[in-house]
C-alpha cells in the first residue's frame, strides 16, 4: 500500500485545476515513476497526500506540429512515446537520445516528459535538451494559459514556477530553434541504464560551411538547476570551427556552470566533464572530424 490519503482520476484539465485549487493537500501524479517512489520512501511532502491522476486527460497527450511549424509536446507523453515519435525523430533526434537514456524500458513506458521537468531535478535527462531548444513551457490555471521560457521555469533544486492551481500542459519548441540545427545529448553515468546522470550535456548547433552560426549548450547536474553556457555560446558564434575553438568553448563552459561534489562524482571530475562533453557533443552533431 502506498501511504496516500486519496486519489482522484481527473478527466479534464479544468477538473484537475478545480481540485488543486480547493484542496491544499493535492499533489499531481502523472506516470508515477517519481511520485510513487518518493511516497514509498516516505520523502517529506510525499506522504498522506491526495493524489490527482492526469494520465487520462486527452489534451495533455500527443505530439504535433502546429500551423507555424512549432513542435508541441503534450506533458504526459511518455519517454517511449517521445523517443519513438516520427516528428521528434526527424526534427530533433537529440531529444530522442535524451529521453532514451532515462532509466530502463519500464520507466520509459510510464515516466513522462512533463513530470521529468515539473519535479525540478537538475539531473532530468530531457531538461538540458529542452534548455538547448529554448523550449517554452505552457501552463494552465483557472485564469487561462501562460507561457514561460524553460530557463525561467526552474527556480532551484526541486523548485519550479508552478503556482497553486497550475498544471504544466505542454512544451512548445519554436521552429526557429530546431530547424537547421544539428544536436546531440551526452549522458555521462556509471551504468548504461537505470542510472542518474553524473553530468548531462546537450548541444544544438547551426553551421554554415565551417562557421558556427548558432550554438546552444546546456547542462544537467552542472548546477542546482539545468543551465545554459551562454558565455561559451557567444564566444563560439561566428567562429570557424577548429580544435582550438572547441577547446576554448569547453573552457568557457566552466564559467557558466557551478558543479559540486556529490557521492556520484567529485566537483573536479564534473568540471572535467563540463569541459569535455560539449566538444564531444558538437563533434557528434556535426558528424565528426575533431579530436574531441
Amino acid at each position: 500500500m502506498y501511504q496516500i490519503n486519496g486519489y482522484l482520476e481527473a478527466s479534464t484539465i479544468s477538473e484537475a485545476i478545480d481540485y488543486l485549487n480547493k484542496n491544499d493537500n493535492a499533489q499531481i501524479i502523472a506516470g508515477g515513476t517519481d511520485v510513487l517512489i518518493k511516497t514509498r520512501e516516505r520523502k517529506g511532502g510525499y506522504v498522506d497526500r491526495d493524489l490527482v491522476g492526469i494520465m487520462r486527460i486527452p489534451e495533455l497527450k500527443g505530439i504535433k506540429i502546429d500551423a507555424e511549424g512549432n513542435i508541441v509536446i503534450g506533458a504526459t507523453s511518455s519517454f517511449t512515446e517521445v523517443e519513438e515519435n516520427e516528428i521528434i525523430k526527424s526534427n530533433i533526434p537529440s531529444l530522442c537520445t535524451a529521453v532514451g537514456s532515462v532509466g530502463g524500458p519500464q520507466i520509459r513506458n510510464m515516466g513522462t516528459i512533463g513530470g521529468n521537468v515539473a519535479n525540478g531535478a537538475t539531473s532530468a535527462d530531457s531538461a538540458s535538451t529542452l534548455f538547448a531548444l529554448d523550449t517554452i513551457v505552457r501552463i494552465a490555471s483557472k485564469e487561462g494559459i501562460r507561457e514561460v521560457p524553460i530557463e525561467e521555469f526552474y527556480l532551484g533544486p526541486g523548485k519550479v514556477a508552478l503556482n497553486k492551481g497550475e498544471i504544466l500542459t505542454s512544451f512548445v519548441i519554436l521552429k526557429k530553434n530546431y530547424k537547421g540545427f544539428k544536436g546531440d545529448y551526452i549522458k555521462y553515468s556509471h551504468r548504461k541504464a537505470m542510472d542518474i546522470a553524473t553530468l548531462g550535456c546537450s548541444v544544438m548547433i547551426k553551421i554554415n560551411g565551417q562557421i558556427i552560426e548558432e550554438l546552444k549548450i546546456a547542462y544537467g547536474v552542472a548546477g542546482p538547476t539545468p543551465v545554459r553556457a551562454k558565455g561559451a555560446e557567444e564566444y563560439g558564434v561566428g567562429k570557424e570551427i577548429s580544435q582550438e575553438v572547441l577547446n576554448e568553448i569547453g573552457e568557457m563552459c566552466l564559467k557558466d556552470t557551478s558543479a559540486r561534489d556529490s557521492w556520484r562524482a567529485s566537483k573536479a571530475f564534473r568540471e572535467q566533464l563540463i569541459r569535455e562533453l560539449p566538444k564531444r557533443a558538437i563533434n557528434n552533431a556535426i558528424g565528426g572530424g575533431f579530436n574531441a
Partner: protein
C-alpha cells in the same frame, strides 16, 4: 477508499474492487493470487514485478491498481500456454541455464516477450537495452542473452 475497476487479465475480463492505495502488484498477488509476479525492490529498479499493460512492460510496484481500469494486462501466468506448458521464451530460459534462483525470471520473460513483439530481430545490444530494466543477481546475464538469441533464431527458422 475502495474503487471498482474493470480490466482484462490474461485474456479474462475482471471486475475487481481495489483500495486506491494499492499498487497493481498488491492487487495481482493479494486479490487475484497471481503470485508469479514478484516484489523485488518495490521502487522500480529491479523489474521483478514487470507485467504487460496493453503490450508495454511496466513495473507493477510503481503502478497504481486504479490505473488498471480499462487496461489489458498480461502477467507471467498469461505467458504460458493455456495447458500450462511453457512459451518458447520460457523454454529457452530453462534450456540455456538462464534460470538460477528464478526470482527475476518472470520479469525477464515479460520484458523479453515485449521486446520480441516489438523487434523480431534484435542485436545483442538491443537485447541488452530491452532487458536493462531487469536485474539478475545469479546468472551474470550471459545465459539470459543466450536464451533470447536462441528464441530469435528459432522463430526465424520456423518462418522459413
Amino acid at each position: 477508499m475502495l474503487k471498482k475497476i474493470n480490466c482484462i487479465i490474461n485474456g479474462e475480463p475482471k471486475e475487481i474492487e481495489v483500495d486506491v492505495r494499492e499498487s497493481l502488484l498488491d492487487m495481482l498477488r493479494n486479490r487475484l493470487h497471481l503470485t508469479g509476479t514478484k516484489q523485488g525492490c518495490g521502487v522500480g529498479e529491479c523489474g521483478a514485478c514487470a507485467v504487460l499493460i496493453d503490450g508495454n512492460t511496466i513495473d507493477s510496484c510503481i503502478y497504481m491498481a486504479v490505473w488498471a481500469d480499462g487496461k489489458n494486462i498480461t502477467t507471467i501466468e498469461g505467458i504460458s500456454k493455456p495447458d500450462g506448458s511453457l512459451s518458447d521464451i520460457q523454454q529457452n530460459y530453462v534450456d540455456k541455464g538462464a534460470v538460477q534462483c528464478g526470482f527475476c525470471t518472470p520479469g525477464f520473460v515479460i520484458s523479453t516477450t515485449a521486446l520480441l513483439n516489438k523487434n523480431d530481430d534484435p542485436s545483442r545490444d538491443e537485447i541488452r537495452r530491452g532487458l536493462s530494466g531487469n536485474l539478475c543477481r545469479c546468472t551474470g546475464y550471459q545465459k539470459i542473452l543466450d536464451a533470447v538469441e536462441t528464441t530469435v533464431e528459432q522463430r526465424r527458422n520456423s518462418k522459413k
